[in-house]
Symmetry: C2
Subunit: 306 residues, 2 copies
Amino acid sequence: MRQIIECVPNFSTSDPKTVEIILNELKTTQNVFLLDYTFDDYYNRLVVSFVGDKQSVLEAIVKMSFKAIELIDMRTHKGQHPRLGAVDVVPFIPIKNVTMEDCIQIARKFGETLAKERCVPVYLYGEAATQPERKDLDWIREGEYEKLAEMIVKPERKPDFGPAEPHPTAGATITGARKVMAGFNVNLGTADLKIAKKIAKALHSKKGGFSNVKAMAAFIPEKNITQIGMSISDFEATPLYRVFELLKVEAARYNVPIIGSEFCGMAPLKSLVDIAAYYLKIDNLTVDRVLEIAVQNVIEQRETFE
Amino acid sequence: MRQIIECVPNFSTSDPKTVEIILNELKTTQNVFLLDYTFDDYYNRLVVSFVGDKQSVLEAIVKMSFKAIELIDMRTHKGQHPRLGAVDVVPFIPIKNVTMEDCIQIARKFGETLAKERCVPVYLYGEAATQPERKDLDWIREGEYEKLAEMIVKPERKPDFGPAEPHPTAGATITGARKVMAGFNVNLGTADLKIAKKIAKALHSKKGGFSNVKAMAAFIPEKNITQIGMSISDFEATPLYRVFELLKVEAARYNVPIIGSEFCGMAPLKSLVDIAAYYLKIDNLTVDRVLEIAVQNVIEQRETFE
């Protein structure tokens, strides 16, 4: 029985040296495996995706976070992505032979460790949230690092672990458990952030867009373009192709071309299946009908194969 | 080390009782696993997809074929799909830890067995072909079952195994080895077979269409529509989305709507990745960036997981 948990920590850095040191903590931990990492100056953010068994994932993320707390100074941090701290968000995601409850327990242990050993205030979010409004990352992150000191003392914003004051250089950390989500960035052929923000707004759940979708706009100086960064928390209910088609419609309104896109992190197979089924009008396509998955299912059924 | 070979036999029947008996031979063989089967009256053809190790796949397909030879009478067979015999085509496909050479050897053993034990003439095709023109299924199948008796005596058409005369009720069998291919059917909102044939022709490699693509048109009486049946032998070089887009263009010319489509057999993941990358303009999408595959690769790297 192989247990697999995915962890997708978001650190507030894009300094190559710091990135290397954080990743090195992962690489020197047994039984965890790096799937992907990206960091960009315009977000000033490092997003890592790795998997492993429960114990090894916890061990790795604690080591990585201790380094991030040591090296990142939020007092001088600037970036276009909202953030509350050096170790900004750390979700644990059940992948195989692991329950959501297992992930909640790991998030709690992780939060307790940061609070106890590094005096970082920690909020639990998503499935691990202790109050309904804390399910929502954006609610917790309101005011960002800059306003953390005045927000954190409010009774309804008392951290789940650690002191009710920001760590001076590391701010606060948000951790929790959630299902697999789709992260997707779309690059627009315009440098006009106002237009990009209007398009992002049209998609965002809280602004009348799709439920399950968060969308933000960012400017990418190196390319002199803008980007819509999206996360779709339930991509079965709100399929990626539908969000993309609406984005196309809104972009066309401003005569803005879509010049490219990318998954942020790993691509969930179900989202690809839904894309193929939509554009090619395939009536009966399911994940189980993908050759590689069907073969894998067969192998797992019978580990006694030749 | 798990060996996996896929076998996709095509039998000339759509009689439910015969289908059941043939599938039962598969189900009663150890270490083989049914992935998919379809049969349609308009093609009068049963296509099965199953996997297993070399020895078990050979055992299963021999048993299935013996039943098909026993039960199917080609003298009364009618269907819109070209065919030469009861056990019409049997490709072996390397999936995991198996070489093309392994599949060629199995095809040869299978062919020898049908010839020796059932007196069925057998042609080798694809990677197992013994002459360049025999690589091509259509060349071997020219004239179909009805003209087999006059074709088979030509020196250049001497069977690779068995007698140079048709089996009276089972015709001839074609077997061989090939890479994974994509089978894809598109239903058209017209009953006019002439239009469907024109569209199929536009796609077919031998008629000026895409290399790697075979396309045929069929009429589906139950639905009073037509269908383009395609196979793409190299769907990396000739991606499915591109074939589909050209099909759309040609269909639009005749004002014929595309009402649905389906993979015939399993869907290769690479074709889904290419579809998603095209329609959503994803720059860096690869099979390895699909979450489920990345996780699987990790498990295979380390079978010593908790």
